[in-house]
Every structure is written in structure tokens, then in C-alpha cells.
């Protein structure tokens, strides 16, 4: 599904923040991406999410060499990847329902064709009563669930989550982890970037550990 070969990344003329990364993410797998702050987790997530090109090396996503793809082709690939941002990135002028339905809307689908799907997912993540609420009135946990719902609504083959439990209490963190596990069981490959050891200890999964720009994989 995703293949990195000798990937390196530097910003401008600075030192390499990621060095010689070679690994694969297989379909239907679950992995934690971890490492100390500043180790390059967010940079690696951005490479995985195709919002950045590596300085060197090869990145292949869904069997396509990302270096050879046009911007529109990258957009089409991005539709097969869901991402949950640490800061949620919900659009404040849209309701919870509209935020979650946004991926369908940009695909040009008619609202009637996805309404039930969105409503069902919103109920599944516990936001069935908040469909008409705007993000500024949602709690942190509700925002997090709305962001996750938006990331998975289009049934992505790969889900990336950047510190998804960083802003929530342990109880909610546990519920969110269960949500990711359920998604993985339904066929989505999941990568959760976190430095929360407690969270990782709750689920036996592959660990990708970044340290000083290098990646160590613990299967």
C-alpha cells in the first residue's frame, strides 16, 4: 500500500530531519508511529499524506510513484487517505454534518446520495445529536470525533491520525482508540502518531519509532 525506500527529507538548506527511511505499510494493518518531540513524526505524516515531497528516495503510495504524479493525481490519491489533525481543522462556518460530509461534497456528489451515510457515521461516533452544531460550540472531544468522522467518511484505505488523543481525557482516549481499532477491523490501514506510551500499551500493534531522523520498526 505504502512503500518508502531510502527516503530523506530536509527543510531548505538545513540538516536532514528524516534519514534513509525504508519501510512498508501493508493493507489492513495497524501501527503506532512514535518518538520524542521533534523526531520528525509530523514530517513523516506529511510525507505519507502527500502534502510534501521528499528530498531524496522513493515514495510509492497505492502502487504509484508520487514523484511522477501531477497535482490532480495527488488529489485523487489523497481521497483514498484520511487524516485526523491534532488541531482538528474543522471549518467553523459549517455544521458538524457539513464538516463530516465535506469529502463527498468536494467529490461533486449529490447531497441526497450521502445523507444517510453521514448521519449513520455521526450516530456511530456519538454526534447524532450535534449534527446542526457549529464547531465553536462543540467540546474538545466532540471536535475530535467530528474530525475522525470526516477522515473516515469516504472509507479511506489508509487513515493517518496525528496525536488524536493529545487533547482528550484518558476515558475519551480509550474510546477513540476503540474507534480506530474498529475502523482497522473494517479494512482500513491505520497509522496513529503519538507519544502516549499508555495509549500504545493498550493495543498490541506494530510500532514505528523515530529517533534522530531514523526509523526503527518493531513488528
Amino acid at each position: 500500500m505504502v512503500r518508502f525506500e531510502n527516503v530523506g527529507l530536509r527543510y531548505g538548506l538545513g540538516p536532514e530531519v528524516l534519514r534513509d527511511l525504508s519501510f512498508q505499510i501493508e493493507p489492513h494493518t495497524f501501527q503506532f508511529l512514535t518518538g520524542p518531540s521533534g523526531a520528525g513524526k509530523t514530517s513523516l505524516l506529511r510525507l505519507l499524506f502527500l502534502s510534501m515531497r521528499p528530498t531524496r528516495g522513493l515514495i510509492s503510495v497505492f502502487d504509484s510513484d508520487t514523484a511522477t504524479l501531477s497535482k490532480d493525481d495527488l488529489s485523487m490519491l489523497r481521497r483514498r487517505i484520511g487524516i485526523v489533525f491534532q488541531d482538528f481543522r474543522l471549518l467553523d462556518h459549517m455544521t458538524t454534518y457539513e464538516n463530516v460530509a465535506l469529502p463527498f461534497r468536494v467529490m461533486g456528489r449529490d447531497e441526497a446520495s450521502y445523507r444517510n451515510e453521514v448521519m449513520e457515521l455521526l450516530h456511530w461516533v456519538g454526534l447524532g445529536e450535534r449534527i446542526g452544531a457549529l464547531p465553536p460550540v462543540l467540546s474538545g472531544g466532540e471536535k475530535q470525533r467530528a474530525a475522525i468522522a470526516r477522515a473516515v467518511i469516504a472509507r479511506p484505505q489508509l487513515l493517518l491520525a496525528d496525536e488524536p488523543t493529545g487533547n482528550v481525557d484518558p476515558n475519551l482516549a480509550q474510546r477513540l482508540l476503540r474507534l480506530f481499532i474498529e475502523l482497522n477491523k473494517s479494512g482500513t490501514s491505520v497509522v496513529i502518531a503519538t507519544h502516549d506510551i499508555g495509549l500504545m500499551d493498550q493495543y498490541d500493534a506494530r510500532r514505528l519509532v523515530l529517533h534522530e531522523g531514523r526509523l526503527h520498526v518493531y513488528d
Binding site: 502534502s51 497535482k71 489523497r78 457539513e98 468536494v106
Partner: protein, 317 residues
């Protein structure tokens, strides 16, 4: 019946339960958007005033030139040896029978004398002074007149006659009018450039507030063209709103000025304005020029937003 409750046990608000009409991708009402409308409206108003002013000056200049060019003067110099009244009558007849001449009006001796009052004062007896006599000849519009032949004919048939076609005066008027119009066009170009630049920068400022929306759309897989078209449409509407307010206000100002000028006819000030600017009316061309300006400014707003989206997407990738 199952009662719907929130996680915290409270009843949900109806507004939370009912989906609203689909929100636009780009928020309609924002402080930055309103500020942009204000900038566009003010700049369009100023540019429209300048455009209207240039059109008025140009049409007035053309009117002055054609008015002066359509009028010629025959002067009969007094000579004790000749009967000046007979010469005036004879010159008048020559002019009247000439092809292309519309109206011939010989000034009486008293009228000719009155022309000198500004220099000599009133109450003086001018009977013994050799005051030349004037015949004002108005040319028919749309007909070309052979003025050199008329001049020759007059001097052949009337000894003391000379013809003044105001050529030097017309040329000076023409030069002055052209300079005025050129200066006006220069000012208009500067105002339009300032308008385009300020609208472009105001649009970029308003777009900065929308950067998170561009990023989110990009990250959920929207194509660049889709994102750009959303913003282009939104900013086109903002530009049109501002342009219509500013341009519309300028049109109202010109229309009111035209009405006021018509109402002021007969008063000293009104007549002076009429001499300077004719009917003080922009005409269809003027209003069309203002409408074109509104469209131009709205297009600048839309294209700048598209360009900013493209640049934002380049920095995101």
C-alpha cells in the same frame, strides 16, 4: 417514544438537530469580506467619478470646438468714401446665398458699438468713430463650406470686407481641449491602476483569513481547480457587490448633477455650467464605461483570489 438526550443528559437544541440549508464552502459573511466590499466600493466610486469627469470634459471640448468652428465673422471696415450700410447689406446677401450657410445676422451700428463698451465704457457718442461692422454667419451643420472661395467672393464684391473663420482660435481651442482630455485620460489610467492594485491587495488580505479553508479542502482531496473556482466565484460576487455600490453611487451622482444642471438653467451659474459642460450628461457611453469598470474591478477581485489560492496551494505542497 425514545427521548433524545445529549451525552451530558441535557435535551438537544432543535437548531442542533435540524440540518440547515447547505453552507457555502467559503463563508459568505466575514469581516475581511465586508472590508473588501468597502474598499472595492470606494475605489470604484472614485474611478467612476474620474471616468465620468473625463467623458464630460471630452464631450464639452468637442462641443466648444464645433460651436466655434460653425461660426464665422465678416467684418466691414468703415471708409468715408463708401456707404458702409450698403456694403453690410451686400456682404450679407453674398453670404446668405452661399451654399452651406445657415444663418446670417448683421449687427446694427448700435450693436457693433455695444461690443466696444467693455473697453470704452457706456454713454459715449460713437457716431463719429470709425467703428467696423460685424456680420455673424452660422454655417449649416453637416454641410462643408468652401470658405476660401467665400472669402474671395466677398473681397471681390465688397471692398472693405474681410472674413474671419476663427482658425487660430479654433486651433488653440483644439489644442487646449486635447490637452485637457489627455490629462484626464492620464489621471484616469493612474486612478484605475491604483484601483486595481488596492483591490488586488485587499483581496489578498481577505484571502489570508481563508487560508485554513484552502488547506482543509486540499487535504481532503479537493482538486486545485475546484478550490480556486469556489474562491473565484465568492470573490467575484464580493467584487460585484462593491463595484455596484461604488459605481451605482457614481451614476446617481452624475444623474443628480444632470438634473440639477437642467433645473439651474436660466440662472447665471447654471448657464455658465451649460457653457462649460453642455447638458452635464454622461450619455449612454458614460454609463456603459462605468458598468465596464464595475465588471473589470469584479474580475480583478476574482482573478486575484484565484491567483492567491494557487500560491497558497503551492506553499502547502
Amino acid at each position: 417514544m425514545t427521548e433524545l438526550r445529549m451525552n451530558d443528559g441535557t435535551m438537544p437544541r432543535m437548531a442542533d438537530l435540524l440540518p440547515r440549508a447547505e453552507s457555502p464552502i467559503v463563508p459568505k459573511h466575514s469581516i475581511a469580506g465586508r472590508a473588501l466590499i468597502a474598499v472595492v466600493a470606494i475605489m470604484t466610486f472614485l474611478a467612476s467619478l474620474t471616468t465620468g469627469g473625463v467623458i464630460l470634459v471630452r464631450s464639452a471640448a468637442i462641443a466648444w470646438q464645433s460651436e466655434v468652428a460653425r461660426e464665422i465673422t465678416i467684418q466691414i471696415r468703415p471708409d468715408a468714401a463708401r456707404d458702409i450700410e450698403a456694403e453690410v447689406q451686400r456682404a450679407g446677401e453674398v453670404a446668405r446665398n452661399w451654399q452651406g450657410v445657415g444663418e446670417v445676422r448683421p449687427y446694427t451700428k448700435e450693436e457693433s458699438a455695444r461690443l466696444l463698451e467693455p473697453w470704452l465704457g457706456s454713454g459715449l457718442s460713437l457716431a463719429d468713430l470709425p467703428v467696423p461692422r460685424i456680420i455673424v454667419v452660422r454655417l449649416a451643420s453637416g454641410v462643408s463650406v468652401d470658405l476660401p472661395a467665400l472669402r474671395r467672393s466677398l473681397t471681390d464684391q465688397v471692398a472693405g470686407a474681410s472674413l474671419d473663420d476663427h482658425r487660430a482660435w479654433t486651433e488653440r481651442m483644439g489644442t487646449m481641449a486635447n490637452v485637457s482630455v489627455l490629462a484626464g485620460i492620464g489621471i484616469l489610467v493612474l486612478v484605475l491602476a491604483a484601483t486595481v492594485l488596492s483591490v488586488a491587495f485587499a483581496t489578498r488580505g481577505a484571502m489570508a483569513a481563508n487560508r485554513p479553508i484552502v488547506e482543509v479542502l486540499h487535504f481532503i482531496g479537493a482538486r486545485g481547480g475546484y478550490i480556486a473556482s469556489q474562491f473565484q466565484r465568492h470573490f467575484l460576487m464580493l467584487g460585484l457587490q462593491g463595484g455596484l455600490i461604488g459605481g451605482g453611487l457614481a451614476m446617481v451622482v452624475f444623474a443628480l448633477a444632470g438634473i440639477a444642471a437642467d433645473l439651474g438653467r436660466g440662472t447665471t451659474g447654471g448657464d455658465q455650467l451649460a457653457v462649460l459642460f453642455g447638458r452635464f450628461s454622461l450619455g449612454v457611453t458614460g454609463y456603459l464605461a462605468i458598468l465596464a469598470q464595475i465588471v473589470l474591478i469584479a474580475a480583478v477581485t476574482a482573478l486575484t483570489s484565484r491567483h492567491t489560492v494557487d500560491r497558497t496551494l503551492q506553499t502547502v505542497d
